[in-house]
């Protein structure tokens, strides 16, 4: 019964989405208040209906109702509760349901929080959200119905892929979708603005919080996925330039660019047409990602659906949505005149450079991801484009970006002085170069490239901190004045400082872990010892342990730093699940300078000797910390009261420190 309720709710949601999309758009064109009034209740109702359907599917998973095909294929009675719930989105049908749930959630959020939007714009934004929802609900109902019944009902299910039975991966899809699908809001805003032919600073101000929210969630989702790959796949790596990873990284690059260009559109009434273009592109990347993952066209480590009809359907949705948006763009775009004029050396100029580099990088990633597909379609050979391509294209594009990131925030709007900025930053640059040189001397395996990476990280961190110190007049005014200024910093500025500083930590972590990783592969018997960086690892043997739905070979390592450090224990596991599959659970001990990472493999002589894989991954904890700081920066910036102001506020009088009233 529950499954039928869910199915009917989805059908009703589709009808509601059409009501949210079609009459409202006509009403907005004719200025018919009655028709326009449909948008808000329809958006809320659509969300409630999809939430009901989602709850129905969750109930089917939690109660192990194997008469529902999705549940039978992806769940099992013995599975722990967390994974029964996470199993709802650990499969194609359920994850698409989560997709539309998030889409309608954003629609409902605009309906609720968009009170200050211009009414015609709000109705049109909601209408576009409704049309997107209608497209994807049709897709679900006709090609991927999560409520399809199965007869005869199996006694037990086929279980969730054990690799997905993991807390990191339980929350990875919801966060990623909040980011991915969140970009639908900026897309709807862009298309609505194109329909109206009007993009003004107020529009950019409305778009910014939605971009920020999506960006923060997307960052968190990508990092969680990367973290999962790091400890679950047991290869000691955290990013593989896998097509599915790229699918989430391209929207991230576009969203980051959008985040920055929207600032210029809001503050300076410039780059408007470009901002609208980016808003469309960012969501186009999200849809492309959905297509790549859901259609199974790519041979990837974690694409789980491969059904041609689904692929064709999503491709059609992608073409209609993006093509339609670009048609509007071609028609209306030329009318978007920017009034703000600026010199290339200015804050705007810096942000433009940021945008060029980020979009060029996104294009390079896109090409590398799609190239094997294109060659395959043309029958021109089967190739794979791996990490070496992406490293050698992506990194050179990021170098000027990071250098500019230090200088850009120091430039004035409209016309800045590179001379003043570089003069102010001379110490930061000098210390950064010295620290890179120091690393090069101190580490005997240091390549010049890795040392340069550390220089960039130090430069970004120091320049970001200097910019903050400069803003609060640290050491230039008396301390109480500086403290007063520090407290008065708008949250959006804090967001920038944190996000840029977090990126500096991230770069340091990525550079160090790529350049100075120590790896040992050994066959070890109980009592054997291996030296890894500054640590000594003693293998104490392995035993069989029973888990809730698996048997594990659990290894024990005693680890000691030098000869005097406090010893600690690591327990890597190799799990064989009762129903299907096996997984490797790496044991990781994070320390300030890096992770000690141990994996236990198979035995060859009945449990005496085991293949082990041991890593010391330098500064990996910095990477995770840096990423978290970036997300935190996004959230703090999001909480800036100024974002919540609806209408454009007249420029504050110089000297007046009262924040603009919220709401």
């Amino acid at each position: 019964m529950t499954a039928e309720i869910g199915h009917f709710a989805l059908i009703l949601a589709l009808v509601t989405a059409v009501v949210q999309g079609v009459p409202t758009l006509i009403g907005a064109q004719r200025r018919d208040a009655l028709w326009m009034a449909l948008a808000v209740p329809a958006a809320l109702l659509q969300f409630l209906l999809i939430a009901l359907a989602f709850a129905a599917l969750t109930k089917a998973f939690v109660t192990s109702d194997f008469s529902v095909m999705t549940v039978a294929m992806n769940s099992h009675t013995a599975k722990p509760m967390l994974y029964k719930v996470a199993g709802v989105w650990g499969n194609h049908e359920g994850s698409m349901l989560l997709w539309v749930l998030v889409l309608s959630l954003f629609g409902a959020a605009i309906a609720l929080f968009g009170r200050n939007l211009r009414p015609s714009l709000k109705v049109r934004v909601l209408a576009i959200q409704g049309l997107l929802g209608a497209g994807f609900l049709t897709f679900i109902l006709f090609t991927s119905n999560p409520f399809a019944r199965l007869f005869p009902v199996p006694i037990d299910g086929q279980d969730l892929n054990p690799l997905l039975q993991d807390p990191g991966l339980a929350f990875h899809p919801p966060l990623l979708y909040l980011g991915y699908v969140g970009l639908s809001t900026t897309f709807s805003f862009a298309v609505a603005a194109l329909i109206e032919g009007r993009v003004d600073p107020a529009w950019a101000r409305w778009v910014r919080p939605w971009t920020l929210a999506s960006w923060a969630f997307l960052t968190a989702g990508i990092v969680l996925g990367s973290w999962w790959a790091y400890y679950e796949l047991g290869w000691g790596g955290w990013w593989f330039w896998d097509p599915v990873e790229n699918a989430s990284f391209m929207p991230w690059l576009a969203a980051t660019a959008l985040l920055h260009s929207a600032i210029v559109s809001e503050k300076r009434d410039a780059l408007k047409s470009w901002t609208v273009f980016l808003a469309i592109i960012a969501f186009a990347f999200s849809l492309l990602g959905t297509f790549l993952v859901r259609s199974g066209v790519l041979t990837s480590v974690h694409a789980f659906a491969s059904d041609p009809t689904r692929g064709v359907f999503i491709l059609a949705l992608l073409i209609v949505t993006v093509g339609g948006a670009f048609a509007f763009y071609a028609w209306r775009g030329p009318a978007l005149k920017s009034s703000g004029v600026f010199h290339p050396i200015s804050r705007e100029g810096g942000l433009v450079l940021n945008n060029f580099l980020l979009t060029a990088a996104a294009a390079a990633v896109l090409l590398g991801t799609l190239y094997p597909l294109i060659l395959d379609v043309l029958n021109a050979g089967k190739i794979s484009v791996g990490a070496p391509y992406f490293d050698s294209v992506f990194i050179p594009m990021m170098v000027p970006l990071i250098i500019a990131m230090g200088v850009g925030p120091m430039l004035n709007w409209k016309r800045g002085s590179l001379k003043t900025a570089t003069y102010k930053l001379k110490w930061a640059a000098l210390i950064a170069v010295l620290s890179g040189f120091g690393v090069w001397l101190a580490i005997d395996r240091a390549s010049a490239l890795a040392a340069f990476g550390m220089t960039l990280a130090a430069w970004l961190l120091l320049a970001t901190l200097y910019e903050l110190a400069d803003r609060i007049h640290l050491f230039r005014s008396n301390p109480s004045e500086s403290l007063r200024r520090l407290r008065r910093q708008p949250r959006a500025r804090w967001g920038m400082t944190l996000a840029h500083g977090g990126l500096a930590l991230l770069i340091a972590g990525m550079t160090a872990s790529s350049a100075w990783k120590t790896e040992k592969i050994e066959a070890m018997a109980a009592g054997d010892t291996v030296t890894l960086a500054a640590y000594t690892l003693t293998f104490k043997g392995a035993e069989q342990v029973r888990g809730p739905n698996y048997m594990a070979t659990r290894g024990t390592f005693e680890v000691q730093r030098g000869s005097t450090g406090t010893p600690f224990i690591l327990h890597p596991e190799k799990r064989v699940y009762d129903v299907q599959g096996q997984t490797t659970e790496a044991a990781i001990q994070p320390t300030f300078l890096g992770d000690i990472y141990a994996v236990v493999g198979d035995t060859q002589d009945g449990g005496k000797t085991f293949v082990t894989r041991l890593y010391f991954n330098p500064l990996v904890p910095w990477m995770w910390t840096g990423a978290l700081v970036m997300v935190l920066g996004g959230l703090i910036s999001l909480s800036d009261r100024r974002h919540r102001v609806g209408a454009p506020v007249a420029r504050r009088q110089p000297g007046s420190a009262t924040p603009a009233p919220a709401e």
């Binding site: 892929n161 690799l163 047991g234 041979t299 480590v301 974690h302 789980f304 004029v341 600026f342 010199h343 290339p344 433009v352 450079l353 060029f356 580099l357 060029a360 990088a361 294009a363 390079a364 090409l367 590398g368 190239y371 050979g381 089967k382 190739i383 794979s384 484009v385 791996g386 070496p388 391509y389 050698s392 294209v393 050179p396 594009m397 016309r415 592969i521 050994e522 066959a523 190799k574 299907q580 599959g581 096996q582 997984t583 490797t584 994996v599 493999g601 198979d602 060859q604 000797t609 293949v611 894989r613």
Partner: protein
């Protein structure tokens, strides 16, 4: 700063970024593309011993052997027409087993494929598409068609 100048400098910057990106992409493509080959290709064609390649096929039943050092594995992949021995040092992926399709990346030297990476997909029913196509090419495919 006139509007015209602004537009010109923006265009100049954009052209520079595009040219730079294109140059980077082209050089990277030249050096870093790895072609996929079936075991039949490896046996019948000539390859430089330093060229990075991918090979895929089914792991032959009974072919997996640990070498003397305890960590190097030797196994044979086949597309049912030809087969190639592969040497790999390290822990094989969780889903690696005999009879399963895999893809290995590395170099082909003196008739032995030295793999630096072995990929098996995170899905029990998975057969890498390249492997499926390679087997289809030999006419031995007994799959879904």
């Amino acid at each position: 700063m006139k509007r015209k100048h602004q537009r010109m400098s923006l265009l100049g910057l954009a052209a520079l970024a595009i040219a730079g990106a294109a140059a980077l992409i082209l050089t990277a493509f030249e050096d870093n593309i790895v072609f996929f080959h079936s075991p039949t290709d490896l046996v019948t064609k000539e390859f430089s011993p330093t060229q990075r390649l991918r090979v895929g096929g089914l792991v032959e039943q009974g072919s997996v052997q640990k070498q003397g050092d305890g960590v190097t594995v030797r196994f044979v992949v086949t597309d049912t027409a030809e087969s190639v021995p592969i040497l790999f040092k390290g822990i094989l992926p969780d889903l690696f087993r005999e009879g399963q399709g895999i893809v290995a990346e590395g170099t082909f030297r003196n008739g032995v494929f030295q793999a630096s990476e072995v990929l098996a997909k995170h899905d029990e029913t998975y057969m890498p598409r390249e492997v499926a196509d390679a087997i289809k090419a030999t006419g031995q495919w007994k799959g879904d068609e």
